[in-house]
């Protein structure tokens, strides 16, 4: 919650262990930092998470951030069904819910929020690597919220993946852009 209400986003990103939700969150965080915004990233952690559902929370604000732990986020990115079930109800009225429909085959019930859907798996498959689905989602999220420029997110991603193969990097960039395009018009 921001008194100014300007650029404030509290986002929970949630999915299976292997879906790269931590990377989505960290990339977002890094990008926010380069845009000189205040930002915090916090993971859920612990061995009980093993194989189960993992999530992280990113808070972006123009002012110093109070709570990095958020019970009522402005946005939720749900990468699988358990995440949808767990977090849909928390979203602030008027907030955003982004669904990865390649895994989630059911519909949210809330009507007072904006719901976006991206088939990240399919798009990633077309790009040629299932693993970039998380970047598709991230691209979509940037498109929806406009809180960060795609350039700084792309730059952040390049930082995060520094040392990886150039092809992989290039695929991730394409995934980001494809994600952004995918939600256009939704």
């Amino acid at each position: 919650m921001s008194l100014s209400g300007k650029k404030y986003h509290s986002t929970i990103i949630s999915g299976f262990g292997g879906q790269g939700v931590m990377l989505i969150g960290q990339t977002l965080t890094y990008a926010a930092m380069t845009e000189k915004l205040h930002v915090t990233w916090i993971p859920s952690y612990g061995p009980e998470m093993r194989g189960g559902t993992a999530n992280c929370t990113v808070v972006i604000d123009e002012e110093p951030i109070g709570s990095p732990v958020i019970d009522r986020p402005t946005d939720v990115i749900a990468m699988n069904i358990p995440s949808l079930l767990k977090f849909e109800k928390c979203i602030l009225p008027g907030g955003t819910l982004l669904l990865n429909t390649s895994v989630i085959d059911r519909e949210p019930t809330r009507t007072d929020i904006h719901v976006y859907r991206v088939n990240a798996g399919e798009i990633a498959g077309k790009i040629g690597n299932d693993k970039v689905a998380n970047m598709v989602i991230l691209g979509a999220f940037c498109g929806i919220t406009g809180v960060l420029s795609l350039e700084s997110v792309q730059h952040a991603m390049e930082k995060k993946l520094a040392g990886k193969k150039p092809e992989l990097l290039e695929m991730n960039v394409r995934a980001l852009q494809a994600g952004k395009i995918a939600i256009e018009g939704q």
Binding site: Q26, W41, P43, Y45, G66, S67, V69
Partner: protein, 355 residues
């Protein structure tokens, strides 16, 4: 803003400790602190510092004792059960008047508990979980930047007063990432000089001895009184706290560490709802900011403590307030982190009860 990097709290504290001149580190893995020891394992050899994983927390605290005897900047980090195992050693280090820095990344207790963020080791840290009359200097950061800066303060306090310093953090601060500015490495000439007492081989001088005992109780009492004289000075000079929106406050929250940070959101909610809330956030848990709370108690209608525990710091708050105004408490335990909203609800209930 200057050049910032993005680091986990544990890693940021580790890097800051190295920049603050920490030469030697001993520790034992435990969640949610392990990233700190892992960072040290990787980074210290790179810059010519000394890292050793001890066989247990009991061994670790005694390695700290040994290193501190040589006047070397030394630290360890652990989490709750591990810190309990260090209690004998901590008491020895305090009794032997030695400088050392401890970090307890507190997790839910008691017992094995869980690995979620908690503040239920406040008593242990501030009142003396070990035996005997002694005090630790106890600091608690609310943000990673504060934690980073605090590492420098911690080593300085330890060296200035020859006393162990404890930083109480929690898993939230430890696992969180936020942009942080790292101070430069401390120059060697800013480093403490402990030549007058440290054990480094006597060479041509008279021998030095470091101990925490005297079988003659009158002499042991003298040692303790000297320590408590020092503590009195620390209480006078080294109290640190943050006041947040206290100027016009009618309710003063008291909360530390992560909880103090979370409360800022609650306070904004409260003010939007017309309750003029403010906060005194102790940064030194010992010495406790008794005076500012006493002063606040003269102006506000209520001093409300919020902790991630069943209520520990609240006793120090009540000692400070000494019956002047109501001192309600709100807390969660076992690793549950209160949300801004639930604290706001609790505030409303308490507020309605008195207005």
């Amino acid at each position: 803003m200057a050049d910032k990097t993005l680091l986990k709290g544990t890693e940021a504290m580790a890097e800051a400790a190295l920049r603050a001149g920490c030469q030697v580190y001993f520790g034992y893995p435990i969640t949610p602190q392990s990233e700190l020891i892992e960072y040290m394992a990787k980074r210290m050899p790179e810059i010519g510092r000394t890292f050793l994983q001890a066989e247990s927390e009991v061994a670790a605290v005694n390695m700290i004792y040994g290193a501190a005897c040589t006047g070397t900047r030394v630290m360890t980090s652990t989490s709750s059960p591990g810190f309990s195992l260090m209690m004998e050693g901590v008491s020895y280090i305090a009794g032997a008047v030695l400088p050392a820095v401890f970090i307890n990344v507190v997790r839910g207790g008691p017992g094995l508990g869980d690995i979620q963020p908690a503040q239920s080791d406040y008593f242990q840290g501030t009142k003396g979980g070990g035996h005997g009359d002694y005090r630790l200097i106890v600091l608690s950061p609310a943000t990673i930047q504060e934690a980073v800066n605090m590492m420098f303060d911690a080593f300085d306090l330890a060296d200035r007063y020859l006393n162990p310093v404890l930083i109480i953090a929690d898993g939230l601060l430890g696992q969180m990432m936020e942009p942080v500015e790292l101070p430069d490495f401390l120059m060697p000439d800013r480093m403490p000089n402990h030549d007058s007492w440290a054990l480094r081989g006597k060479g041509t001088r008279k021998k030095h001895s470091v101990t925490s005992f005297d079988l003659d109780p009158l002499k042991l009492e003298e040692m303790n009184l000297a320590n408590f004289e020092k503590y009195r000075k620390i209480q006078q000079k080294e109290v640190r706290y943050e006041e947040y929106l206290m100027d016009d406050a009618e309710v003063a929250f008291v909360a530390y560490g992560t909880m103090g940070r979370i409360l800022k959101t609650t306070i904004r909610m409260a003010r939007e709802a017309g309750i003029k809330a403010g906060m005194i956030r102790p940064i030194t848990l010992w010495p406790f900011p008794e005076k500012p709370i006493q002063e606040a108690a003269k102006k506000v209608k209520m001093v409300m403590s919020v902790e991630m525990s069943m209520g520990q710091m609240v006793e120090d708050v009540r000692l400070a307030v000494s019956g002047k105004v109501p001192t309600p408490f709100y807390g969660r335990t076992g690793g549950v982190v209160p949300t801004p909203t639930e604290v706001f609800e609790a505030l409303k209930r308490e507020w309605e009860a008195i207005v």
